[in-house]
Amino acid sequence: MKFLAGSWVGDWLTGLGRIAALAVEATVSLLTLKVSWRDLLYQIYFIGIKSQSVVIITGGFTGMVLGVSAYIQFHKIKMDTATLAVVGVSMCDELGPVLTALMVAGRVGAAIAAEIGTMRVTEQIDALRTLATHPVDYLVVPRLLASTLALPLLTIESITIGIGASYLVGVYLLGIDPVYSWYNMLKYTGNIDLIFGLIKAFVYGGIIALIGCYKGMSCSVGAQGVGRATTEAVVYSSITILITNFFLTLILQRVATMGL
């Protein structure tokens, strides 16, 4: 494997291995140690509550745009009332979890990387270690737990707002029949769609927290190092979410088909 040393492939594989090791360390810590409720609640507040505005705006406008686009196509074949069904399935399955995760990655992933990165360059992480505190226990576990708990809840919020906004635009702006629209949406949007969305949100929550923490903990010295870690946390989280989404969709669809 010497030929990989120093190359970008080697660096990429090393980074992947380190994130995997961080995930294992965090899971072990999560299973064996008592989590500080105070730290966890603060992180849930920071990741969940403080992301409300971003998630509401994203969900609302995505639902409205999707509704209008679907209506334009369905109207050509006189199937206006199918609009909300398309919005429902799309929001639950794909757009709700993915767009929520991308927005949270931008806000929270960057903040996690910047905070932990600054702690690293100002020797605060070394100080933690000298005070007999494992940085993973104190910094990673509360963020990982909060992120995996908050993302599904934020996704539910995004889906609800998206469908609600699409309903309002469809019914009051485009003149779609409200009863048939609602009926069709409930008919074609199954519980399984929502479950898929929540599973994805859970996974994306873990990705955002792990990559943010890893980038912060491994950032190089100086203001430039923190800046780079922050940018990389957002870029890598977003790319990983999009790639994971494809494979997760394939796996979940396969599992659902086998189950049926």
């Binding site: 702690m119 100002t122 020797e123 605060q124 070394d126 270690r129 007999a132 505190t133």
Partner: protein
């Protein structure tokens, strides 16, 4: 007891420490001096396993710590307190929360009252009573180092490590930090290791002075003997005279 055996460390191509040997007995107070970038802080960080050596061993009370993982090291680090060059206070916490941090994280549970009392005692010890509610950003450099020291002594460790405690401070504040180090040493009977390039500080706080030069321990003597040394390298460092070829202009 701290024992360093044949310790070597390089960062990339730059070798910082080469076969360093060192032994510090319990209760001893040692000042480690040397030029900037000479590996003093690197040596200190090896003693508490913040860095891993390329070769050699570090023993704390006879137990080798170089092959321990981060979780095993937690037990060893309970014996230590460390004061960082920049204090390394947690800037999201108040002074009281910073000082209380090691007590809150300890396996032994303290009541809120006990924690409050110990924090107040530690802050009094470093001459900063009543500063519990302040934020680190509101403190001067000297005050931050005092809070860092309060955080390091609040759980009464056996070994205290100081990384350039007087760097960047004016002579009067430096003097007060030196007195504080001596007071803490005498009060808690701790083993103290002070990394510094402040000659006055080294003379006062150490029972022994070690000088790092050319990646090795070059001199090792009691302060009186060390400062009376006529060795040209030691003398040059004590007198603070640059080599002619090091002149910038």
């Amino acid at each position: 007891m701290i024992e360093v055996r044949q310790l070597s460390k390089a960062f990339g191509a730059q070798k910082v420490l080469a076969d360093v040997n060192l032994r510090i007995e319990s209760g001893e107070s040692v000042a480690i001096i040397g030029r900037s970038g000479g590996g003093k802080s690197v040596l200190l960080k090896h003693i508490i396993a913040l860095l891993q050596p390329d070769a050699g061993d570090v023993l704390i009370d006879g137990e080798s710590i170089v092959r321990m993982n981060e979780r095993q090291l937690l037990r060893i680090r309970e014996k230590f307190g460390m004061v960082f060059q920049g204090a390394a206070l947690f800037d999201s916490m108040s002074v009281a929360e910073n000082v209380a941090f090691p007590l809150v994280r300890k396996k032994k549970k303290y009541t809120a009252g006990e924690i409050e009392k110990r924090v107040a005692q530690a802050l009094e010890m470093v001459d900063l009573p009543g500063t519990q509610k302040k934020n680190p950003a509101e403190l001067s450099g000297g005050m931050r180092k005092r809070v860092g020291l309060a955080r390091a002594i609040v759980y009464e460790p056996q070994i205290l490590l100081y990384d350039e405690p007087t760097t960047g401070l004016d002579p009067i504040v430096s003097d007060s930090i030196d007195k504080l180090i001596i007071r803490v040493r005498d009060h808690f009977k701790v083993t103290s290791v002070v990394v510094t390039h402040d000659m006055r500080s080294a003379r006062r706080v150490g029972n022994r002075v070690l000088m790092l030069h050319e990646k090795k321990i070059y001199a090792n003597a009691a302060p009186e003997e060390f400062f009376a040394s006529q060795d040209p390298i030691v003398r040059q460092f004590i007198d603070g005279v640059a080599d002619p070829q090091e002149a910038i202009f």
